[in-house]
Symmetry: C3
Subunit: 665 residues, 3 copies
Amino acid sequence: MENGKTEIVNVKTPFLGCAYYPEDWDDEQLAFDVERMREAGITCARIGEFAWRKMEPRPGQYEFGWLHRVVDALKAAGIAVVLGTPTATPPIWLGDAHPDIFKQSENGTRAQHGGRRHCCSNNPHYLDACDRIVRAMGREFGADANVIGWQLDNEIYSRGTDCTCEYCTAAFRDRLKREYGSVESLNARWDLNLFSQAYDRFDQVPGDWGAWHNPHRKYEWAAAHYDADIAFIHRQASILRQYTDAPIGTDMMPIDGMDYEKMCGATDVVMFNHYNTPENLCEAVFWFDFMRTLKDRPFWNTETATTWNGSTAIGQALKPEGYCRVNSWLPVALGGACNMYWLWRQHWAGHELMHGSLLSPEGRPTHTFGEVRQTAAEFAEASAFLNGTTVKTPVALHFTSRSWQLFDQQQIVNGNNYFENVQTVHRALTRCGVRPDVIGAMHPLEGYKLLVSPCLMTLEDGDLAERIRAFVENGGVWVAGPMTDIRNGIGAHYTDRAMGMLEDWLGVRLEYGVPTDGTVLQTAWEDGGDLRAEKWAELYTLQTGERLASVTGGHTALTGKSVLSRHKVGKGEVILCGTLLRGADLDRLLTLALSDAQAQPFRVTGELQITPRAGETQEGLVLCETGHKPASVRIGQPMTDLLTGEVFRDTVPVEPYGVRIMAKG
Amino acid sequence: MENGKTEIVNVKTPFLGCAYYPEDWDDEQLAFDVERMREAGITCARIGEFAWRKMEPRPGQYEFGWLHRVVDALKAAGIAVVLGTPTATPPIWLGDAHPDIFKQSENGTRAQHGGRRHCCSNNPHYLDACDRIVRAMGREFGADANVIGWQLDNEIYSRGTDCTCEYCTAAFRDRLKREYGSVESLNARWDLNLFSQAYDRFDQVPGDWGAWHNPHRKYEWAAAHYDADIAFIHRQASILRQYTDAPIGTDMMPIDGMDYEKMCGATDVVMFNHYNTPENLCEAVFWFDFMRTLKDRPFWNTETATTWNGSTAIGQALKPEGYCRVNSWLPVALGGACNMYWLWRQHWAGHELMHGSLLSPEGRPTHTFGEVRQTAAEFAEASAFLNGTTVKTPVALHFTSRSWQLFDQQQIVNGNNYFENVQTVHRALTRCGVRPDVIGAMHPLEGYKLLVSPCLMTLEDGDLAERIRAFVENGGVWVAGPMTDIRNGIGAHYTDRAMGMLEDWLGVRLEYGVPTDGTVLQTAWEDGGDLRAEKWAELYTLQTGERLASVTGGHTALTGKSVLSRHKVGKGEVILCGTLLRGADLDRLLTLALSDAQAQPFRVTGELQITPRAGETQEGLVLCETGHKPASVRIGQPMTDLLTGEVFRDTVPVEPYGVRIMAKG
Amino acid sequence: MENGKTEIVNVKTPFLGCAYYPEDWDDEQLAFDVERMREAGITCARIGEFAWRKMEPRPGQYEFGWLHRVVDALKAAGIAVVLGTPTATPPIWLGDAHPDIFKQSENGTRAQHGGRRHCCSNNPHYLDACDRIVRAMGREFGADANVIGWQLDNEIYSRGTDCTCEYCTAAFRDRLKREYGSVESLNARWDLNLFSQAYDRFDQVPGDWGAWHNPHRKYEWAAAHYDADIAFIHRQASILRQYTDAPIGTDMMPIDGMDYEKMCGATDVVMFNHYNTPENLCEAVFWFDFMRTLKDRPFWNTETATTWNGSTAIGQALKPEGYCRVNSWLPVALGGACNMYWLWRQHWAGHELMHGSLLSPEGRPTHTFGEVRQTAAEFAEASAFLNGTTVKTPVALHFTSRSWQLFDQQQIVNGNNYFENVQTVHRALTRCGVRPDVIGAMHPLEGYKLLVSPCLMTLEDGDLAERIRAFVENGGVWVAGPMTDIRNGIGAHYTDRAMGMLEDWLGVRLEYGVPTDGTVLQTAWEDGGDLRAEKWAELYTLQTGERLASVTGGHTALTGKSVLSRHKVGKGEVILCGTLLRGADLDRLLTLALSDAQAQPFRVTGELQITPRAGETQEGLVLCETGHKPASVRIGQPMTDLLTGEVFRDTVPVEPYGVRIMAKG
């Protein structure tokens, strides 16, 4: 699996890993910790990510001996290493020499030494220093066979903490020059005739503070910062690649609007950190369904808690027994190669000393230690099946960074949240017995039968429009909307039509978009049942196609307009949905679409995550219960649970937080 | 109607208008838009208000050709123009040359180019540039007969965004010198012996930031900013007046504490923008009752939405059918000359691209287009009656900027809101079947029978005290209080008496002011029914007068004190109310006062806005339902609905959001 | 009582006082005010605290004549004086000459003249000017026999408004050098290997802003500011002491984390200001139980309201009759020498013009004037008994500034509030019929039978650990926990054990600390009754001792662990409590502990504050009802109410807000 490397020292996938901070402990604890890791079933340790000062205590003076000793001690115990570049936390000598490495806030104040991820991704002094430490690490450990992977920086993001320094402002203006060519073009595309906003020169365009800015410039300002972070990661990757052929990645988090496709463009393996609670465990499932599609290589779940996350205070309560196990299984069940915990041993001091772990500061096992060991054993048990199969599904759900960013600057209607809207559809698909691939705008559509694109605000995102058109013409079923295709690539209206491609293509006319709170507007399915339109409704006149639901009251100008319709196009079909749906209405729509697409879902009860897997010689299902309630699925053919040996023929029951690896036969 | 101008090109009042931004559209759209305006019944377009850069792309280089073409195209279609000065949005070349034109925040940072209304009204560079563009526009369009009015700037306010720059600080100190003469006088009147606050020189008095300031200086700081904005508008008016005799105004908004009387002092016509929802439509009614009294000339409703307001997100839901019509009728029903919409055609980009309009960006009519056309037709139908009559009422309600500003700095008791308190009385008067004139402190009292002054914190506001005294002595009924006459003109207590004029005049003694939450203090009408005292109660000992309600429990020191009393004075009467009342208690008080004043209200059901109108030859009522419930009014004599032709003799029913123009006979 | 002074002009304790601001009034009001004070029963006036400018209108030019006249007029009326140093409000000439005296905010902006307590306690210019005015006042009034006490500054605190100036940063670094010796030691103890945070030099350590700092440095930053304030007060005390032998204090407030023991270390008398409402009157009781233990001399209650506090708005409602009296009695009942009101006469202007008083600005008595007079008379009635007895109790409750500060930086679990947790125990002890001494970390433990230490996060606070150990070994009963002894002195974990002293000492092992919201973790008393664990549970394995409650469900790894246990140690006992308890569970625990300690509580009903007092010849109880409900206590022997003459033999009823002074016999 490791991309050209034939030898991965004793790490059998799926594997369990953990973050380990040897710099936090006296040397004599190393042997103790390594031995306990073996007991827990840990086969991979993530180390180094914040230890810059210990590697380079003074500029250019490198000390890697201690780190070699750790890597070697782990290796001796059969534990592989993922090495992190420590660029999220520069040593004091760097900030002391160059105070401008720190982010500048909207009111001109600078961040300071302390904490982490507080440096500007555009600052040349910071970038130079990062280059040097990354190169030094590459030289030192690039050929170490026990280093099975590299993690660049840590949880990078600019979201909400945009630096406003001169370098960032310059980078923003450079981006504008690149994207718009001339200031006249920028003025025109941003419609800067309004409010006399137009610029005479690019160098007059200020950063995004101190003014009520329009959504198009806010989009570009945010995009410039996302891109700076992405460039920062890619720069490290290109250095490291000179010294190693182990896979390189960066551990990403859920970040509003992040362009995950672009971020992973120049790395080898998708890494993802997540923390969740029983209430939003399904959100982790959503992310895994997305991470799986970003690369062919199985993704790495680089961080999750054994118990709870927490800084100086814990924000969660004790979770039920079994939660740790199912949470550990989910990334692997959904297509990942491993699960890693943050962290091995609870910090004895510092910012995050209440964060859950496998050992307490005094070295005692936490109460989920047993669940971790069980998971390790089960990973081994299921290894052959998992390595011999991959996740296969005919259903894709769009989740694009462009839409996320545009909705971020332009909500359309108050309380409208893109991420939440996509999540709602994702959960409904799960309820319908489907395992959706969550895909970005660049992902190929070939091979899917059903594509669902809620709130895909613009189709002007690469050649997305053409590819969707081809997908449908070739026989695919596309559920489009609401709020889909209603803006150009920077979030502006069309002025000659209400939708970019859909009106002409489908023979519809978007007459009205109206906000609704459920009190005035009335809508119903054509068979008479009420349909509950949420927050926003787009109402159409149809020239062709079949009306599925329409307006039945609220205003005479609206009554009779279509809100949901079905259109045969080429060999395929478009279902045009004009409003946010929930619950039974959403399930009804998706069931219809699944049926039209001939994508047969499973019949499930409860909150069951079903992941069909198939390989050359094997086939089966991974089942994970995420709602802490009894669940079941009809399989209709004999299958064996590889963990328990139980054989089922028709219906498989799954206990609360239960996990089953069902192989055919 | 147009103040000395004999010719108003084809604009018959009442008229429908709309804001139009030709600078936002390609030239070829002009003919399309003008034709659609005619279809809608629009007879006046507001243009130019933000188009400075298009008029003056470089300093001193004026380009008005495009604007002439627009004015002329509108004229050709019989559509008049209100021209706006574009000073709310200076072009980049001004801010680029003089960054200090932008407002300075409390922490010293400057606003930037982008957005609007972000410049300092005291900045000399900004003022000079404004002078020049206003003069240039005046020269260019002052004599154009199709320009029937001028709007200065747009929605000016300083509220909550006070600039702290050196010019503003200097203007503040100048005001203090003017108002207080010497620093010793300022020290004494602000009581600056407290906290060792006294100043030695005016130039030591800092702006209103970085300290816990006393309410008197906060009042003066805010007043200095209100005055700067007012001076800014008056300065433009005085320039424009050299070039035109069309009426000049500035489109005002609901701004906490704004001195509307002073703002309108040097303009010709009152202009007002408002946006509302079904929940607070009655607030718009309040504002129209106020705008009507500011000048003899009928006010112009310069902005309201056809559907909803919104920036990049809409904060409202679909409104019931009929709302657009009644909302369009209200300003006209209540004494205005027109209703104008913001905006004609939805922006295709920018800060406010979700704001409701008459056309969508692609040029399609919005769902309320029909209601607009109906309103236009009805305005024409009712024109003769409306132009032949004016609103007449014997009841006035005080609403003074001084009290608003003082309560803003000095709430007396938490949660006490002057605006809300006056609104509460306004709504109760409406419920009682009365159309009140809402009047400022300077408004004459002659001609009224009943004057209601809730929370008129000070009578030291011009010659208000003398005029009220005369009003009562001559036979008027005055409802005074609560929290009336309890402070001097800058919000300080008297030290030799508890009230400025009322104690001696009425023979009462204000013994105690106590906060109440309804749990301890008990008060009752003299006939025994409970009276609910809200938030604050002023308790009196009476030497003369008739007690109407008093304290019945809570503390032995309070029991038996009067909280509501009636006093015969001269030919008139004062009703002294010591507490905030609501609901039935308030209705009872007002009914009593209306009866004593012999101001006969109408008998109504539902939330009906009744506006009596009378002229030389005609008389009647305009009825607007604002609660979306069936309503009715007893008229007791035959009247004809000019819109439907229906004749009623005794009771007129009005449907939800209905409008009737009832003429006698 | 007055510490070496034999003569206290006509002030018999307990006495009633009030704050008086003669600088706020014309001279002719002095006689009026003094006469009214006599009527009210006031025998002491606090004056001068904010009148710096009137004493020193220009630098070095002192004008004390006016103040002498006030002191003398009061003296003539038999009213003593507490003189305040006016350093909280420097005159404009100081800030004008040295703008850096004002606090600097996190974003670098300075406070300004206006308000109060806005100067930096480390600024040399401010300190010099303070020295001079304090010295001048000492010279002028130090020997005045009518000045019976000195108050330094006013309500000093840094909490939440930490100055960030160069002097404060230097003071912070000086503290670090002093506390840690070397930067290597600081790096080690703060665990700065984490996040590459370690410093090379002390002068690299920035102030506590602009970064996500770790809890240990946040603790030190806050401590440096607390210490600066304390040093500021002590500096004034040492100057004044050269001129007077009247007792010196500073009027303290409830300030999160303040080190009251240290603050009072160099003053003579504890002064305390408090404002409360019926809802949290018991919080005042808590503070008095604490203030009583800070010095042997009875504390002075320097401020409370007659009615309500308030700045420009009142945040409270009318309180029931009797509240003013019981609120006035409480400090005296609980061991203080006096009660003083803020303020005598309501300000006629300024920041706090709505604050309650004894007279209105126009000189009229407020509605509680009668309750004040009654209290004055009752103080005289009970004087002999009160002066002949002191408060005696066998129960102490720990409340340490170190724990407060550490929990402030490190909540352990969200919503966990140290102050609230200690309050909860305090209220439960009151419910159990006990008057607890609330004691700081330095307070001797001798003489107590029961010591309760909830959330005493660290025992590394002087020799606290040794003294507790001795207390128990010698026969005391100690209730320890939860969250007790779990950190070292700066809030870091131990790495070789989970608790500092308790594990080895008691033979227990703290296995797990888990957050709980009551849904998953189940705990029960050993007899089977449910025990409700709040927020956080520490679960133990016991080698010795008696289990009182343990885990019954939630996770198999936790089931069976002890959460509450009893351990015989030496002649005494430790009750180890692993979780926050409330209501019946807490009462059960405390009842058990009181029984084991043979500290016999009273049997009470209602919310009754019982204060046992004993002296050489007298003994009795002071009873104050604080819940506004009828209450009673069983006394079991004859006692006489000194205020009413009533004699009770078994049970004493107390009316809502009632006060009784019960003397034996």
